[in-house]
Amino acid sequence: MIEALELLTNTSLWAAVLRIATPLIFGVLGALLCERAGVLNLGIEGIMTMGAMAGWLTVYLGGDLWMGLAIAAASGGLMGFLHAGLTVPLGLSQHVSGLGITLFASALSYYLYRLIVEVGETPPTIIPFRPLDIPVLSDIPVLGPILFSQTAPTYLALISVAVLAYVLTRTPLGLAIRMTGENPHAVEAQGLNPNVLRIGAIVAGSALMGLGGAFLTTAAFNSFFPEMVQGRGWICIALVVFASWRPGKALIGALLFAFFDAYQLRLQNVIDGVPYQLFLMAPYVLSIVALILVARRAEVPEALMTPYRRGER
């Protein structure tokens, strides 16, 4: 028991929290942006897989790491565009289309990976992002190694939270996007096209999801393998609800979640006699519990999952 508490004083635990949170932050921001514009994007799990594969493959084929992130974002955006095409102008079921995108994007990622990469006994590796020690700040005791010795994409994720929060709440574009998710008819009345706004939000949100996937293969690990996203996309969908569709709360949700994940990994080594699967279940169980706790007072965007057709009410 003492050992379990001692773990909490370990700086490597707290540094891991930010690392584990990074793909979730990208994913939850992406899902949030789509939903704020009124479209559920269940393609997230596949889009993250796509980003993981595309980012890794770019580096493997000789591109640099930032090029990898850019290609991951672009491929995520492309899958998002497909989801947008099906759900916005055609108004198809967002549930089924999203699942279709997830199945398609994952299958396509595995297929292309197998096609291009010679896979032997162990998957080939790349040289991933190294931790970036921010001068002066990283020398601060305790806080330094936790906050200021992360990899570059982690800082990018944190910046994205601030940017998205600013854009959504403080700019005309953000207002238009939020209004599209609440009442697209009002957007139309302002002379804006709600469908264009929705498509844009889905593409941008999916690009963020792609970045989240790419973090896994270019920073957290150094290789790509099937099933590596491990339900992180679905957890992001749950986190959006938990965060009441707000970027700031989404960051807190992702960090909280990552803390439990990092903690359970370390607890496995300290507590004997408990099957490791029980620890691994914790993140998924926790997501469900979080959903139950907030579900009643969730402020769902009014027009979420309602396709918009001009002149139809």
Partner: protein, 347 residues
Amino acid sequence: MRLERRENVPLSTVAMAPLAAILAALVLAAGLIGAAGVNPLTAYGEMLRGALGSRLSITEMLTRATPLILTGLAAAVAFRARLWNIGGEGQFYVGALTTAWIGHSLALPGPIGMAVLMVCGMAAGALLLAGPAFLRLRFGVDEVVTTLLLNFIVILFVGLMIEGPLRDPLAFGWPQSVPVDGAYRLPDLVPRTRLHIGLLVAIAAAGVIWLVLTRTVFGVETRAAGLNARAAAFAGISLPKTIMGVALVSGALAGLAGAVEVMGVTGGVTTTMSPGFGYAGIVVAMLAALHPAGVVAAAIFVATVFVGADAMSRATGVPSFIADVIVALSLLTMLVALLFTTYRLRR
């Protein structure tokens, strides 16, 4: 250009939709096969030969189709009532695990035991979906996320059980559950192949579901709940009761898939026994336009792609993941095709 609702939809249009969707998916996937340096027509020829070219390959394909029919029915029943059960995979595994566990030490005459085990598998699947259905009805928690997350929880639970209490001591350290007793292994449908009478069970289930959906009050309530929940409630249909009923039936069907797979094919449970039967069931249901009879045909298509792709991959070197690509693409193209059965483009 805009979409205009069709006034009447001829049955032939509805029947054409899946064929058009599959054709479109095959054309799109042809580009990817071409990228592998293989002539798509050669590849598709190899696929057909691999799945339908011999008596043995046909029985293999039908063996693969059996659980797909059941998970497809599970998705179709749920989606009709707009209950988004994406947890077929998890329900399949609890059905399989329960069957192996009880079937290992059951002492009943063969046929009765088989029936009992199928009911046990169904009960396990039904209970697993009852949870998310309850959470939706009581707390308004979206069942998509809960059923998806439960899939991961269940697979970990299966791993825990087969490395612990249900471990097969005779499996040489291979993580596998104890097998069902030999008395409850489903008899072969075709001698000296893996095809078992589970196929007949699955087809019978499709027939029963068809009758239930078209000939009973429950079927009408299901459809009403899916078409317009508010109008249904106004007409005096108890929405919570209907949703819970649908959840129990849908979960039971996916659980039955697991039970049948264990008794018919694998004997024991492993964490890799399902190549995504639950998820593929969603595609099957959509390709069938949620119709029970269509589910049987769609399951045979999906099974043909999967079994055929393995053989094609061995012959041509095209990665067998192409099967997943084709199946996923056909879901997306089917969505579009379904749209054009109810709407048409007008300038």
